[in-house]
Amino acid sequence: MGHGFSTLLYKEVLRFWKVASQTVAAPVLTSLLYLLIFSHVLEGHVKIHGIAYTAFLIPGLVMMSVLQNAFANSSSSLIQSKVTGNIVFVLLPPISYLEFFLAYVLASVVRGFVVGAGVLLATFWFAPLTFAQPQWIFVFALMGGAILGSLGVIAGIWADKFDQLAAFQNFLIMPLTFLSGVFYSISSLPLFWQHVSHWNPVFYMIDGFRHGFFGVSAASPWLSLAVVGVCLAVLTVFTLNLLKRGYKLRA
């Protein structure tokens, strides 16, 4: 990877960091509000895999923040650059489509990690957390962030207007993340909805991530790793192909 890649990565990180109150502080506060409300209602009533509800909820909120912010970073950066026209600044230089892809996706992962760490810092006071198998925490945060970062690249390139991007976010990303077992264990669902949830790749990201904290989960972390790995591979190939063809970027 050349200097073009590292500069684009730096620029993408600097971009969200310059408006950190919107891109970091706001999602951390949102997660904190979820925690305060849900734990107030459910703490003491619900235990999942023998874990107190608030402790169970925290990793879910952290991972949801990682995923949503990874998506938001690449998608909003690209749509803004396209709408304002300054996308030419990255299309004119000798940056390969692979460098372009990696820079946007990695910057999304960085944003996800920063927000995720912020949520963890803001919430871990509320319940005793363990870090049973931290390697899973890292692996799923990285891969989940990369998947949503790639989806953000696809959405940002595909959308011509902000409302199209909002539709992608509201009708695809939000349901997938909210219905993935962030707030509940899917074992508590009726059988039909359990089966449906097993078709949601985000479920495996959350479940595998949570396994890193408690060492227990609904699915085996290895199964989750396989599902998440396949998703990442498919999306990477798909996105690289779009970029190579210059879809909507190089007419």
Partner: protein
């Protein structure tokens, strides 16, 4: 020595619109080249194809001998493009924008060259201002600066003076002229024909995606435009002179090629008993050339 720009049989459609139709064009190193044509003639599409922003459907383009598709990295390193749209990244200051742009081209430490560009474009005082805070003219200067950070041997300016004030025009052209004198190849599109006439050594005119005229500025002027002797007089102009002349608003315009013809012309008018009230000499101008080429493209030979 390879051509600065070589465009061979390049075609491009957008839907049913033929934006470029088998365009052939070659610009030598060190030239100051003008690309003229009405709106929608294909100038920006041609520049976009050269810059890799648009993919040509047929034909090939190269910059300093590097094909813009197969050898895009080298082609783009040799090319600096000032886009027509006034675009900017609102997140960054002027200096940040220029440092980031340098990095995209693989240049880490570029501060002294950035300082020099800022100085030459009158941007030094604005170096640490956010892009959003700049006036339109200042943003335009930054666009020019961004195109120059990697010291490209070939510089393409797509209507750089559209809607900018006199001061910026003069600053800009002084700097671009200097770069040209230092060996940079300059390609310019503009609707200000007097600008093209005074700057460009050679000119191509595009119409509906085709090159309809291509020659040195001097030859184009000679071929399609002449000097004119414009005068207002009392009395009849000799009949044989009236034939080549045009009349409007009490003024006669008599075409001539060499200044030696002026004295005999005046002598004959005087001899015919005319009294000249007012007189001026019009130079050939590119506007006339442009209009004649666009109106009667069939008679305009393409070389």
């Amino acid at each position: 020595m390879s051509a600065a720009i070589r465009i061979q049989q390049v075609s491009k459609c957008f839907g049913s619109t033929q934006a470029l139709d088998r365009v052939d064009l070659e610009v030598d190193q060190g030239e100051f080249f003008g690309l003229l044509g009405p709106n929608g003639a294909g100038k920006t599409t041609l520049i976009s194809a050269l810059a890799g922003l648009v993919r040509a459907a047929a034909g090939s383009l190269s910059v300093m001998g590097h094909d813009v598709q197969s050898d895009y990295r080298a082609a783009r390193r040799h090319l600096g493009v000032v886009p027509q749209e006034l675009v900017f990244d609102p997140f960054f200051t002027v200096r940040e924008s220029l440092k980031i742009q340098s990095g995209y081209f693989g240049i880490g430490d570029n501060d002294s060259w950035i300082d020099e560009i800022l100085e030459n474009l009158g941007l030094t005082a604005k170096a640490n201002a956010n892009m959003r805070m700049l006036s339109g003219g200042m943003k335009r200067r930054v666009l020019v600066a961004q195109a120059l950070v990697h010291r490209p041997p070939v510089i393409v300016l797509d209507e750089p003076t559209a809607g900018v004030d006199v001061e910026l025009r003069q600053t800009l052209w002084a700097f671009i002229r200097r770069l040209n004198e230092e060996g940079h190849t300059i390609v310019l599109t503009t609707h200000y024909l007097e600008e093209a006439e005074s700057l460009c050594g050679r000119i191509a005119m595009l119409q509906s995606g085709r090159v309809v005229a291509l020659d040195t500025t001097a030859r184009l002027l000679r071929r399609f435009s002449t000097h004119t002797l414009r005068l207002r007089s009392h009395g009849e102009i000799p009949a044989d002179l009236v034939r080549g002349a045009a009349q409007s608003g009490g003024w006669w315009s008599l075409p001539f090629d060499n200044f030696e013809e002026v004295e005999p012309l005046l002598a004959r008018i005087r001899a015919a008993g005319c009294r000249i009230d007012d007189l001026e000499i019009g130079k050939p101008d590119l506007e006339e050339v442009f209009i004649r080429v666009m109106q009667g493209q069939a008679e305009a030979p393409v070389n």
